[in-house]
């Protein structure tokens, strides 16, 4: 959502709209994570009054979708692809292959036996 988006682009490297969107979600999640955890604690604590817990449930469910960690998707840093992204390198499979064959990834070697 545009209300969360940074006014000035703070990314470098490969950029497309989906990467910007995902980056925005990540930053919003980071910002609201303590609040979400506090609400989750209130909900999980059975010794607190039922009313307070119900209120916390309501509040948590009414928070913006961008504050949710499940909205975040790992995307390829070099191509923006969201599928088959290798987490250690943050790169999708084809970019990984290209870069590995070009020798740009230290320690990665084509297997042969």
């Amino acid at each position: 959502m545009s209300q969360f988006r940074a006014k000035k682009l703070d990314l470098s490297g490969f950029i497309n709209s989906r990467i910007i969107r995902d980056h925005t979600k990540r930053k919003v999640f980071e910002q609201y994570e303590p609040e979400r955890q506090a609400l989750r604690y209130i909900i999980r604590n059975t010794t607190l009054p039922a009313r307070a817990r119900a209120q916390a449930q309501l509040q948590l469910s009414q928070m913006h979708a961008y504050t949710r960690s499940t909205q975040i998707k790992n995307r390829c840093v070099a191509g923006g692809i969201a599928r088959s992204v290798i987490r250690d390198f943050r790169i999708a499979r084809y970019q990984f292959r290209e870069q590995a064959l070009a020798g740009e990834l230290p320690g990665v070697k084509k297997a042969s036996w």
Binding site: L9, D10, L11, S12, G13, I19, D22, H23, R26, K27, F29, E30, Q31, E33, P34, Q37, R40, Y41, I42, I43, R44, N45, T46, T47, S69, I72, N74, R75, V77, R90
Partner: protein, 108 residues
């Protein structure tokens, strides 16, 4: 036997105090596991590479101070535009009013 149990409880209590854990012998659901979790936000937010200082930033900081910088790419671009203009291939003049744009359409 009962005395032994209370002693064990005391031991657990001391243990919890020493290691700053939550003493909860009744095994109530206190939601402490939420508080024990580490925040994942900083790690998640650092996925994409951050913006670094570029030559453009340097230029932008120099300009208000009255200093000039030489950018070869920008120089080439302006030169190419000049050549295109001489060949009559420059960009058309901006139409400022609605009437102007209408006459421009009719000519076609």
């Amino acid at each position: 036997m009962a005395g032994q149990y209370s002693r064990l409880l005391d031991l657990a209590k001391v243990q919890c105090r020493v290691f700053s854990l939550n003493f909860n012998p009744e095994r109530l659901r206190l939601g402490n596991k939420v508080l024990r979790q580490r925040l994942r936000g900083p790690a998640l937010a650092a996925w994409y590479p951050k913006n670094t200082v570029s030559f453009r930033d340097l230029q932008d900081t120099c300009k208000p101070l009255g200093l000039t910088t030489f950018d070869e790419a920008e120089d080439d671009r302006e030169e190419a535009i000049q050549i295109a203009k001489l060949r009559g291939k420059g960009r058309p003049k901006k139409k400022r009013t609605a009437a102007e744009s209408r006459t421009a359409k009719k000519k076609k």
